[in-house]
Structures are given as C-alpha cells and as structure tokens.
C-alpha cells in the first residue's frame, strides 16, 4: 500500500470522518489519498482556522479532531491553532507535510523545522523517517492525544515518504514505556480528602475544564448534591456544572463574579477539580486564603503543586475520582454556608447606565439564553465579548461553551463554531465575537458557506478593541488610548451579503428578540450585528 493511502487508512481506523485542512506541495500525495476516501475534507481559508475547526469539532463531538497543512508556511500558520489547543487540553492530530527527506536541513523552498517549532505546543510530535513506522506512529499519536490530559500531537511527514510503498497493518495496542497516565485516585489520598471534607464547615468546589475532558459533569452534579458542596468554576469550567444546578455558584477569577471570588477567600476547604489554577482563574494566584485546605484533583501530576500549595493532592481522572468520592461521602452540614452564598449572590448586581442608542451585551446574552435550545453550543472569541459571554450566558442542561481560555487566541470562535457544527450538525451553534476577532477570521465565512450548514454569528461591534482600551484606561490613565480604534471598519452586513449570508444590524435592546428569533429559526447562517457602546466595561 502507498504510504499516503496508509495515512488515510489510519485515520479511518481511528473513526475519523472529517478532516480540516489546506493543501500544498508537500501534501499532494495525502490529498490524492483523501480524494478517493470516504473522509470529508473541509477546506479552510487559513491554516490557523484548520486547527481551530478541529478544536471545535473535538469539543462538540467529544473525540480527537484532525487537521492538516503543508510544509513551511502552512505548518507555521497552524502553530497558533496548535498552541491554542495545547493550552486548553484539546485532543488534536495535526498532520503536516514536510519537504522531501533528502532535502531536510538544506533550507529548500517551504521548509521549516516544524517538529522543533511545535515542541513547546504539542503533547508530543513525530517526524516520520521510515514509512513503515506510519501505522505505529498514528496509533500512538491518537492514543497520546486522547488519553491522560488530552492535547495536540503533530505528525510531520516528508513528501517523498508519502509516496513510498509499505506493508500496512494497524497495531491493536500501543507500547510507550514513558507514558502511563494515572486514572484512578490513590485510595489513601481519597480517604484523607474525605476526612478533611467531613470537618469542613465552608467547603467549596472549583471545577475546571478537566471535568469536561473527562466527561464528569454528571458525577460532579451528583457529588455536589450528595455532599451539599457549592461549586464555582473557571472560564474553561463553564458547562462543567449546569448553571441551573442546585449548588451552582458562578465563575471565579479576574473576570469572574466578585461573590464567587469572595467565597474562595472565605472557604475553609477548596476542592479544585480538573483545573490548573491559572493566573486568570485565581486573579494572579492571590485568591485562596493561605489557611484554606486545598484538595487538588488533576490527571496531570505536574499541575498539582505548580501554582498553589496543595494539602491533599489526588492524581487521576476526575470522573473516576468523583465516583470514588460519591461512594463514600455523606452530606456535610453546609446549610449556613449555602445560605450565606445565596445572600451574597442575590446582593450582587453590576450597574450599567443603559443607553437607548446601543445594545447592552448583557441584555443580548440574557435574551439569547432564554431563546436557544437546551443543548445549544456557544463559541466565544477573545476580548470583551468572551467575558460578556462567560458571565451572562446561561449554560444550563446540555449546553456547551467553547472558547480559547488559556492562550486567548483572537479569531478562534468562528472556525471553532464551524468545527462544532460539523461535529454535531443537529445542534444550534452560536458564535460570539467582537469586530476585532471577527476580522481575524473573516475569510472563514467562505468555509462556513461551503459546509452548507447554518450557525448564528452574534457580533458585538464597538469599532475598537474594547478590552485593550479598558486596560489602557485603568493601567495607563483615563483616555490614553492608542492603537485600539478601528476607524475604517467595514460594513459587516454588506460583508455577510457578499458571502450570501443573511445579516441584521441591531441598535437597541428592543430589537434583540425579533432578530434572534429570525436567526434561530432560519435554515441559513445569520449574522446579528449588535452596536455596542465603546465605553461599556468588560465585567458587565
């Protein structure tokens, strides 16, 4: 079998039915193999979007996403997408074409050391030197990407190797001596944690994206209800516990709710599950009280003790460990604590002087939350739109929320929404972005059109980079703005029309419901452009 066919066969063996990519000279043999296969190829307009699409796909489908690009600039364009997935622990297989193996190191046309360049942003990567290694490498790559703490794995394949002939047999198992993730929590540690929980008067769970990676939302809900422990969550942990759950509190961190942050400081025991205690989630590592007991549950031992001192570490898969806890836990006496939380939460409202000539993003997102399905998927970009969405969308029931949490990559939400829709075509997908982030991925509107699928794009347009503007305001001095105004933004509705996408511009809150209703009931993609007051703050 030709190596290029073997590569496609490996993808089929792994159950891959869609790949996102952009072709080029070093991928021609693989593209020929793809042409004659049953795998659907989605042609993006920029390689970075291929990685983001694969990420959205992976997150909606709950399995590994695949993207590919050619050697040199194709591969380097992918890197931001790979790094985005790496920071958020999204399982991806990234295939890059490489120049002919004989030419490597000679600085030939479109050559780049992609394995070297992606070392810091991949869970692992391979340069294929012997075509016979292809089945083993693919088997290992898929295994590494999707197990333990998930992440992107890159396979760089020289074009001459793609053309060689190999004897194909796909391995049934992998043998990687240096890779053995821990899945089950150490029973002694679980016992110690249970003992600590029993004496806690003010316990608090902080749920991170790890809950979603390990598909442990149900277990988290059961545990919090059985033990009567309130739950806060990180940005990546949005959706780990439906926001209409009994013990749901809200998001923590620099852009979290102040009541959530206050509770973290007041808690006598903090149970961190599947979160890496990032600076944004802890408002610069300052949130938790030094006297607070910390139980840290994570599948990646390197995250335990990295950013916060841990009283009791439990390494393993969140789902398994929560099951271990559910089995043994009894209801804690937290009534007083829960009442305090309710009081704090009810007393918290952020005031905004509503202006008639603009849309209030909070209002828009609350209205949207009441109108979309219970299993809708939201993608949010980076900037004010991300935080507005994170704070104001109601992620109830089976709704999902995808955003670039770790790397904070602008231009993520549109390709991620396309990937998410392709992953789960029956679900409503809403892409939330700002005028800055939209223009980083504008070309992907064509990708969207080619898929024939419909998503709703909710654009908050303030004709500037609102979050940077706010940073300049608070850190440099009132009004000292520089480089944040888009003085020649295009007419986004006209752009929509150019792609044959429908679009409505909304200037007031009163128009929101009709606009959303039209978009959500349409068979076509829709752009709802909300005109937003440039002065409006992030933590709305």
């Amino acid at each position: 079998m030709k190596a290029s066919n073997a590569i496609v066969k490996c993808l089929e063996k792994e159950g891959i039915d869609i790949v996102f990519g952009y072709p080029g000279g070093a991928l021609v043999p693989i593209y020929e193999a793809l042409r004659t296969s049953n795998i659907k190829h989605v042609l993006v307009r920029h390689e970075q979007a291929a990685a983001h699409c694969a990420s959205g796909f992976a997150r909606s489908r709950g399995k590994t996403g695949v993207c590919m690009a050619t050697s040199g600039p194709g591969a380097t364009n992918l890197i931001t997408g790979i790094a985005t997935a790496y920071m958020d622990s999204i399982p991806l297989i990234v295939i890059t074409g490489q120049v002919s193996s004989r030419a490597i190191g000679k600085d030939v046309f479109q050559e780049a050391d992609v394995v070297g360049a992606t070392e810091p942003f991949t869970k692992h990567n391979y340069l294929v030197k012997d075509p016979e290694d292809i089945p083993r490498i693919f088997k290992e790559a898929f295994y590494i990407a999707s197990t333990g703490r998930p992440g992107p794995v890159l396979i760089d394949i020289p074009v001459d190797i793609q053309k060689e002939s190999i004897s194909f047999s796909y391995p049934g198992a992998v043998n990687i001596p240096g890779y053995n993730p821990t899945y089950v929590g150490h029973s002694g540690q679980v016992k110690r944690a249970l003992k600590k929980l029993k004496t806690s008067k003010r316990p608090l769970i902080c749920a991170g994206g790890g809950i979603l990676c390990s598909k442990a939302s149900k277990e988290l809900k059961t545990f919090s209800e059985k033990a009567k422990i309130p739950v806060v969550h990180t940005l990546m942990g949005i959706g780990s516990l439906p926001s209409d759950s009994k013990y749901y509190v809200g998001m923590v961190g620099s852009h979290g709710y102040s009541f959530s942050n206050r509770l973290v400081a007041e808690a006598d025991l903090l149970m961190i599950i599947g979160a890496r205690v990032g600076d944004r989630a802890t408002a610069g590592f300052k949130l938790a009280n030094e006297k607070t007991d910390i139980i840290h549950i994570d599948i990646d031992p390197a995250e335990v003790g990295k950013n916060i001192n841990t009283t009791i570490p439990v390494v393993g898969d969140a789902k398994n460990i929560l099951k271990q806890f559910i089995e043994k836990i009894e209801a804690l006496e937290t009534e007083e604590w829960v009442e305090r939380i309710k009081a704090l939460k009810n007393g918290s409202t952020v005031k905004y002087d509503h202006k008639k000539s603009f849309v209030n993003p909070k209002e828009a997102l609350k209205t949207l939350s009441h109108m979309v399905d219970d299993d809708a998927i939201f993608t949010a970009d980076v900037g004010q739109n991300q935080i507005w969405a994170a704070r104001n969308l109601e992620i109830i029931d089976n709704r999902k929320f995808f955003t670039s949490g770790g790397l904070g990559t602008m231009g993520y939400s549109l390709p991620a929404a396309i990937g998410a829709k392709l992953g789960t075509p029956d679900k409503t997908v809403v892409c939330i972005l700002g005028d800055g982030s939209f223009q980083m991925a504008l070309g992907e509107l064509a990708t969207l059109c080619e898929t024939g699928l419909n998503i709703m794009i909710l654009l908050f347009n303030n004709n500037r980079l609102g979050m940077v503007r706010e940073l300049q305001d608070t850190h440099i001095g009132k009004g000292k703005y520089f480089g944040v105004d888009f003085t020649a933004n295009p007419d986004f509705i006209k752009i929509a029309h150019a792609y044959d996408i429908k679009g409505i511009r909304v200037n007031t809150n009163e128009e929101l419901e009709t606009a959303f209703s039209t978009a959500l009931n349409s068979k076509d993609s829709y752009i709802i452009e909300c005109m937003v007051d440039p002065k409006i703050l992030t933590n709305l």
């Binding site: 394995v115 240096g178 990646d300 990295k306």
Partner: protein, 160 residues
C-alpha cells in the same frame, strides 16, 4: 542531580533542553550516553534550585513522552563521577612535580608535547576541584569536563 532514562532517538535532547530553558530552570551540567539497552539512553542532569523547582523539573520531565524514568540521585545514596581533561604548561623543571601530582590524584597523562602535558582525571566534585587548584599554578592552557554522571549506590536499578 537527576538521572533520567530516555528513549534513544534524535530530538530527545532538544526536548529536554527546551523544557529547561522554557521554564527558566538552569542546567549546570548534562551528560548523556546509551545504556546496556541500545534503545535507551541515560542522562545525568545537574541542576540548581530549591525543593519546589526540583519537584517541578521532575514532574515536567516525566510529562515528556520520550522520558521513561526520572530518579533523583541523593548525594548520600549515590556515586557521581566526572571526567576532566586538562592541558597544562609543563616546562622541563615542572614535569616531575606535575607527574607526582598526577599520581597522587590517580590521574593519567594521556598526551605529551615539548611544552605541555594533557592530564585525564576522574572523580567527584571535591576531588576535581582539589586537583584543579593544585594544577592551576603551573598554568592551565585549557580544561574540558564531561559533566557528572552518576547512579544509585547498592543493588537497586533505576527501573526498580
């Protein structure tokens, strides 16, 4: 000092070196070579840092797929050795003294020229610095060291 068992393929060294520079850890010395199993190499890495940094380095190294095992070589439970080559000025009148010094340290003269001697010396950190101190007054032309290599004392194996 860390002893690290890794898969013997190209790129491993770059991954490990990259990890150190990326996270701001300092490598004082690093030596590497193949083990009794040709598919596996073993590195000895000397690092400076407090307990927190050492713990982080161990965990981050363990995360690398090509790293099979990481063991900390505690001074009291391990043997370390380093090999140095010193090219020293050796005028006729100094040759006997240098030779005596070399013998005392159980070092070897491995090369000779009309004006120099090249000495090979193996030892732990203390012995090496003592030797260098003694030989320095003669005039060191150049000095090269392999970096420490080490293993645990007693019957245990790194993979145990």
């Amino acid at each position: 000092m860390l002893s690290v068992l890794v898969e013997n393929n190209s790129g491993v060294l770059s991954r490990i070196a990259g990890l150190f520079s990326r996270r701001g850890y300092n490598i004082d010395s690093l030596s590497v070579g193949v083990t009794e199993n040709p598919d596996i190499s073993r590195m000895t890495i000397t690092v400076t840092g407090d307990d927190y940094i050492l713990e982080q380095i161990k965990k981050q190294l363990n995360k690398l797929i090509n790293v099979i095992k990481v063991v900390e070589l505690k001074p009291e439970k391990s043997v370390y050795r380093e090999l140095i080559l010193v090219k020293v000025k050796a005028h006729a009148e100094d040759r006997t003294v240098i030779k005596e010094t070399v013998n005392i340290f159980r070092a070897n003269i491995v090369d000779i020229s009309p004006k120099t001697l090249t000495v090979e010396m193996t030892g732990d950190a203390g012995k090496i610095s003592a030797f260098v101190d003694v030989i320095k007054p003669f005039g060191i032309i150049e000095l090269v060291r392999t970096g420490f290599t080490g293993m645990q004392r007693g019957g245990i194996k790194i993979t145990d």
